[in-house]
């Protein structure tokens, strides 16, 4: 109707995958190449993890969920050169395994991430050239008026990365002379529990622990659309997009705590015309939302997912990513698992979608890319 162009909107995407979950998952050998596990592994830095499941199921599995270690992370203020201090470097990067991410917005600030011993630095051309380190340009997505950005990737676990070696001293020089501003970082030690932090080298930086206690919210009387038969072989691609999109919207509405999904909501159509999808099949359910907030690692989410899988008939896991790229950044993902999301024609005609073979569980995974969040 109006002639306004919207570049950002055109780059937004949602990858949807419907897959069948294996009957048994060995926690030591998770199929990380397959959806939905691939989505979890591809988002190593998360800031919010939310699980939505029926309240009566939660009361049954509460004790097993409580056994899960809560995610622990800390906020520290340090210089990039502090990463290369002997004690910190040897304990956390060479022998240990940590996740770190610095403050700043990708696309305009210098942003650092450290994962599996690989330090990635995103910076602008001017700073990049002054560091004297090798890097490669980041694709800009053809944006107008955006300055060229570069990515430096340093594998600090290489045998050549030792104090005194030439290539390493170049990094030390760059951190001393160019990248010498103190930053706020989030720090997560993947190899220790919160109890034994007292003697660790991170204490030198006086970390502030982030409390990632689970936040439980009861969501009573929610009209819940059916997950069964959301996709089926007879449906066209457009129909599947619509039904999956509407369900993803409903999930987000529940996460938002919107009154529109409450069964008792009676808002005037002047204010909102939202309606819960799947009009005849909706039922009113008491749900519960469990939310963790902090720097949360991929392995922890995987652990949570694996412990929920055998115990809950259906649940929703939603994860928001930290450290988004400026162009086509990964924003996070939502996974819904339930029996018979992908309805084969035989099953639906026989039992009206009510079949619940224990082996036939599906996972529906949405991966979001490219939204604009300022706060």
């Amino acid at each position: 109707m109006f002639d306004f162009t919207d570049d950002a909107s055109g780059r937004e995407k949602c990858y949807t995958t419907v897959s069948q979950l294996p009957g048994f998952i060995d926690p030591t050998q998770v199929p990380t190449k397959k959806s939905p596990f691939s989505a979890i592994v591809n988002h190593p830095f998360a800031h919010t993890v939310e699980v939505i499941l029926p309240e009566d199921v939660y009361t049954d599995i509460q004790t097993s969920l409580d056994k899960l270690n809560k995610p622990h992370s800390a906020r520290v203020f340090m210089l990039p050169s502090d990463l290369l201090e002997h004690e910190f470097f040897n304990t956390y990067i060479k022998t240990g395994n940590i996740l770190m991410i610095s403050e700043g917005r990708a696309g305009s600030d210098n942003v650092y991430t450290l994962q599996d011993g690989i330090l990635k630095i995103e910076l602008g051309r001017e700073t990049f050239e002054r560091t004297g380190l090798t890097g490669k340009p980041i694709r800009s997505g053809g944006r107008k008026h955006a300055k060229e950005r570069f990515l430096i990737e340093l594998n600090l676990r290489l045998p050549s990365m030792l104090h005194g070696k030439k290539g390493f001293d170049r990094i030390v020089w760059a951190f001393k002379n160019v990248l010498n501003q103190s930053l706020a970082w989030l720090f997560c030690d993947l190899e220790s529990t919160p109890g034994d932090q007292e003697t660790k080298p991170i204490q030198k930086q006086s970390p502030q622990m982030i409390n990632s206690e689970v936040l439980k919210t009861k969501l009573s009387q929610i009209s819940t659309p059916p997950l069964q038969g959301l996709v089926s072989p007879e449906m066209s691609e457009g129909d599947m997009q619509e039904s999956c999109g509407a369900f993803a919207e409903w999930i987000a509405m529940v996460q938002l705590g919107s009154p529109r999904v409450s069964a008792e909501d009676a808002v005037d159509s002047y204010l909102s015309r939202y309606s819960v999808p799947g009009d005849e099949g909706t039922c009113t359910t008491d749900l519960i939302s469990l939310k963790w907030h902090g720097l949360i690692s991929g392995p922890w989410v995987l652990q949570l997912f694996n412990s929920l899988l055998p115990s809950s008939p259906w649940f929703i896991l939603s994860v928001s990513a930290l450290g988004r790229q400026a162009v086509e950044g990964r924003d996070g993902y939502t996974i819904a698992t339930a029996p018979n999301i992908h309805c084969s024609s035989v099953a639906s005609s026989g039992n009206g979608g009510e079949v619940s073979e224990s082996g036939n569980r599906n996972a529906l995974c949405w991966e979001f890319v490219g939204a604009t969040s300022i706060e």
Partner: protein, 160 residues
């Protein structure tokens, strides 16, 4: 507009042509597709009062709708008021789930094609001249998938 492909481990036929051989029913199939053009755009808007005005009433759905309509009609005329807006949620000051917020906020949904026009209209609006309740809208988040926006950007973690 959309790419749909069904991946069968047995048949890797391009999606346009019908597969010659049907995979046996027992093999698990994976369906994946990319959606680029969903029907809606979602916005999180903060209502920022002018510094010299005393204080606004706490935001409610009806006044939010009125402010938005006023912004749209000011910028786009009568056609602007025809853009359907769905109020999804009102977040009042200090009632947010993860901490305190300084301003009232509203989550709305508009048709995706009108999204850019709505953003242009509300970001240029200074409302309530004369009645003494000057206010402006600030766009906090915008996206075509609400699931990507609900938890924010996580920037609050870096602030002590």
């Amino acid at each position: 507009m959309a790419d749909v492909q069904r991946k069968d481990p047995m048949t890797e036929a391009p999606p346009s042509t019908a597969p010659k051989r049907k995979a046996p029913d027992s093999t698990p199939t994976t369906i994946n597709f990319t959606s680029r053009n969903p029907p809606w755009t979602y916005l999180k808007l903060q209502l920022i009062p002018q510094p010299d005005t005393p204080s606004l009433q706490p935001l409610d759905p009806l006044s939010a709708r009125t402010y938005l309509s006023s912004a749209l009609s000011q910028f786009l005329g009568l056609t602007g008021t025809a853009i359907p807006i769905d109020i999804l949620k009102i977040e009042n000051k200090g009632s947010s789930a993860n901490g305190t917020t300084k301003y009232d906020a509203v989550w709305v949904r508009v048709p995706r094609d009108d999204g850019a026009a709505v953003v242009a209209a509300i970001s240029s609006w200074i409302g309530g001249s004369g009645s003494g309740s000057g206010a402006a809208w600030r766009v906090c988040a915008k996206g075509n998938y609400l699931g990507a926006l609900v938890s924010g950007s996580g920037r609050d973690l870096f602030v002590p």
